[in-house]
Amino acid sequence: MTDKDWRNFGLAVVGLAIAACLPLSGNGYYLTIGVTIAMYVVLATSWALFSGPTHYISLATAAFYGLGTYVVALGIDDVPYIVLLVIALVVGAVSAALVGLATLRLSGVYFVIFTLGLAEMVRQVVTWVQSNWGGHQGNYVLTDITEEIIYWELLALAACVYLAGWLIGRSRLGFALKIIGNDEVVAAHSGINTARSKVLLFMVSGMVASLVGAILAPRWTYIEPSIAFSPMLSFQVVIMALLGGVKRLWGPLVGVIPFTLLWEAVSISFPNQTLLLMGVAFLLIVYTIPHGFVGLLETYSARFRERKG
C-alpha cells in the first residue's frame, strides 16, 4: 500500500469511528437520519461498484432489497435472525447471478427497463407464493432489534462494501470492469471474460442490496410488498449515486448526504409540496450537476491547479 492508501484508510477508519458514535448522541432523530444515510450509502456505493465502470444503469435494487426483506419476514418465526442474514446474502447473490447471466447482454435502455420490470416481477411472484402457501407467516417481524443495532449493522456493512470496493478497484476484476466500460470488444479481445466479470460485480451489488433489505426488515415490523419492493427505492439509489458521481468509490457518499439532507429540508418546510419540490430538485440536479459532485470537484481542482501552474 502506498502512503496515499494509508492516508485514505486512516481517514475511512476515523470517519467510520465518528459515524459509529452517532447513537451515543441520544438524539433519535439524528439516528434515524443516520440510518437513512447509511442505508443509501451502502446501496448507492454497491450500485456504483457495478454500474459505475460498466455504465449499466440498474433499477433492480428494489428487487434484491425486497427479496432480503421477505427472507426475514418469512423466516423470522422459525430461524435465528443472523442465519436469515446469511440466507438473504445467498439469495441475493444467487438471484443476481441468474439475472446477470440472462440479461447482461442487453444494453442501454433495454437493461434499464428490464431491471425495472424485474423488481415488479419478483414482487408479483413473492406475493403470489405468499398468498397461496404463505399461511399466516410473512407479514410480522416482531423482534427486539433497535434502531441503534440496525444502524451499526449498516455501518459495518458500509465498511465491508468500501473495503470490497477498494479491493476490487485494485484487483484484476476491477481493472477488467474498467476496460469493459471503455470498450467491451477490446475487453473480450484482451482475454477478459466479460460476462463473468459483469455477473460477479452484479452479484456483489445484488447481495449487498438483499442484505440491506434483511437488515432493515425489523425496522418495519410489518412487511408489505409495497414497502419491500418500492420502485422509488431503485430510483433514489440511482439519483443519489449519480449526484455524487460514480467514478470514485466515495462518490455516492457525497451524493447521499446532501440529497438526504435536502429531502429532509424539503419535507420539513413544505410538507404539502414535498413531492413537487423533490421533482424540482431532481431536475436541478440533472441539469446543473450532470457529472455529480465528484465531477464538479474535479473540474474545480483542475482549474485550481491550472491557475497555480
Binding site: 433519535g28 406475493t127 397461496n132 410489518y222 409495497s226 429540508a265 419535507s267 420539513i268 404539502n272 414535498t274
Partner: protein, 401 residues
C-alpha cells in the same frame, strides 16, 4: 455563476431548515404531530379517512377554545408531514416531530404497516399511539411489546368472523346456499384476511368454491368476476383495496354476477361508492360500518361535510374521529401534558365518542366495533358488530338494478 447561486440557495435552505425547523412556536398552544401519506399509493385512502378528520377535530376543539387543561385552555396546533407512503419517511418524520418539533402528542399514522413501523418510536419516547387505521391479528403480542399502543379499528379475525356468521345464518335460514366465491388482492392486507377467512369459513360450514388472488393494480378484473360466476356461487367475497373494490363491483354489474351476498372490503364504505353505483350499490356488503341513525353519528357526518367539504366514509372515518376524541378526553382528564399519565388514563377510563362508549380491554383493544356493513337505500348501515348495538337486519341482494 447561475449554478453557484442555485447551490448556495440549496445550501442555505438546508441549514436554515435544519437549524430553525420547528423552532419559534407560540407557547400557549398544545402541539400535535401528524404523519400520513399525501402522495403515494395509500394517499387516496388517507385523503378520504385520515386527514379530513384531523382537520375537523382540530377545528372543532379550537372553536370551543381549545383543550381544557389545569392551567387553562390551550388551542391545538398540528404539524403535518407527508410520508409519501414510505415507512422510512414515516419513522423519520415521527422522530423529527418528537425530537425537533417537540410536539406534545402524536396522532397515529395511516395504514396497518405504518402504525406498526412507528410503534417502537412511539414506545421509546413514551407517546401513546392510537392505531386508528390498523387491522391486525397480533394485538395481544403488540400490546405486550408496546404498552402505549391502542387499537380502535378492530382485528382481522372478528371482521372475517362477522361476515362468516352472517353467511352461516343465511345458509341456516335457507336463504342462500353455502357456496362462496372468494378473491383477494395480493397485498399484505388481502393476503392476511384471505388466510384468516379460509379456516373460519370452513368452520362455519361454508364451501369456498372459488379462491383466487389478483395482483394490486390489475387493470381488468373481468376474468376474475367471470371465473367467480362460472363457479356458480351463492355469495361473492372480495378482500379488496379501493380501486379494485370499484372495479369488481363494476364488472359484477356488467357480467350480471347474480349473487345473494356481494361483499367487497376497503372503500365499500366510501360515500363515493354509493355515489358511483347508486341503486346498484343497494344491499352490497362491505367491511366495517356505523349506525347512521345514531344522532351523534348524524351530527358528526354533518360537521364533517361542513368543515372539510367532504363526506365522511361510513367506517374508518368515524373510528379515526373517535380515536381523536379519546386522545382529547384523556388529555383533558389528566389536565396536563403528561404522556405517561395520559396513557394510563386511556387504559383505565371509558370514553364517550361518536361511536358510543369505548373502553380499552387488557390488550389495549377497543373490543366494540362494527365488522360488516351494508348499503341499504343509499345509506351504509352496520349489520354486524362486536359489542355495538343498532345493527340492522341483513338484506339479500337481488340483482343490480
Amino acid at each position: 455563476m447561475k449554478r453557484r447561486l442555485i447551490l448556495k440557495l440549496a445550501g442555505a435552505a438546508i441549514t436554515a431548515s435544519l437549524a430553525f425547523g420547528g423552532a419559534a412556536q407560540a407557547a400557549d398552544t398544545i402541539k400535535f404531530g401528524a404523519v400520513a401519506p399525501k402522495t403515494g399509493p395509500l394517499a387516496g385512502g388517507a385523503v378520504v379517512t385520515h386527514w379530513p378528520n384531523i382537520k375537523l377535530w382540530v377545528a372543532q376543539v379550537n372553536a370551543r377554545g381549545g383543550l381544557k387543561l389545569k392551567d387553562g385552555q390551550r388551542k391545538i396546533e398540528v404539524i403535518e408531514y407527508d410520508d409519501q407512503t414510505n415507512p422510512g419517511e414515516t419513522i423519520k418524520a415521527v422522530q423529527r416531530l418528537v425530537t425537533q418539533d417537540k410536539v406534545d402528542f402524536l396522532i397515529g399514522p395511516y395504514g396497518t404497516g405504518f402504525n406498526l413501523a412507528v410503534a417502537p418510536v412511539f414506545a421509546k419516547y413514551g407517546y401513546p399511539l392510537i392505531a386508528m387505521t390498523a387491522i391486525t391479528d397480533q394485538i395481544p403480542d403488540l400490546a405486550k411489546k408496546f404498552p402505549g399502543m391502542f387499537f380502535t379499528l378492530g382485528s382481522t379475525t372478528p371482521i372475517v368472523q362477522g361476515l362468516a356468521d352472517i353467511l352461516a345464518k343465511l345458509v341456516k335460514d335457507g336463504k342462500i346456499g353455502n357456496k362462496i366465491a372468494m378473491v383477494n388482492v395480493a397485498d399484505a392486507f388481502g393476503i392476511e384476511l384471505a388466510n384468516a377467512a379460509r379456516p373460519i369459513f370452513k368452520a362455519a360450514g361454508l364451501d369456498v368454491v372459488y379462491d383466487k388472488s389478483y395482483p394490486l393494480g390489475t387493470q381488468d378484473l373481468s376474468p376474475i368476476v367471470k371465473g367467480a360466476k362460472a363457479a356458480n356461487p351463492d355469495a361473492f367475497v372480495a378482500w379488496s383495496y379501493p380501486p379494485d373494490t370499484f372495479g369488481l363491483t363494476g364488472q359484477a354489474m356488467v357480467q350480471g354476477l347474480d349473487v345473494k351476498v356481494f361483499y367487497t372490503a376497503v372503500a365499500t364504505s366510501f360515500p363515493a361508492y354509493g355515489g358511483k353505483f347508486g341503486v346498484a350499490a343497494n344491499n352490497v356488503m362491505g367491511t366495517g360500518g356505523v349506525n347512521p341513525d345514531d344522532p351523534a353519528i348524524k351530527e358528526y357526518m354533518k360537521a364533517h361535510k361542513e368543515i372539510t367539504g367532504l363526506d365522511a366514509d361510513f367506517w374508518a372515518s368515524s373510528s379515526v374521529y373517535a380515536s381523536l376524541q379519546i386522545l382529547e378526553q384523556a388529555i383533558e382528564g389528566v389536565g396536563e401534558v403528561d404522556r405517561a399519565k395520559v396513557t394510563e388514563y386511556m387504559k383505565s377510563n371509558s370514553f364517550k365518542t361518536i361511536l358510543g362508549d369505548i373502553t380499552f380491554d387488557e390488550n389495549n383493544n377497543n373490543a366494540k366495533y362494527w365488522t360488516v356493513g351494508q348499503w341499504q337505500d343509499g345509506v351504509y348501515q352496520g349489520v354486524a358488530a362486536v359489542g355495538r348495538d343498532g345493527a340492522k337486519e341483513v338484506r339479500l341482494k337481488s340483482g343490480w338494478k
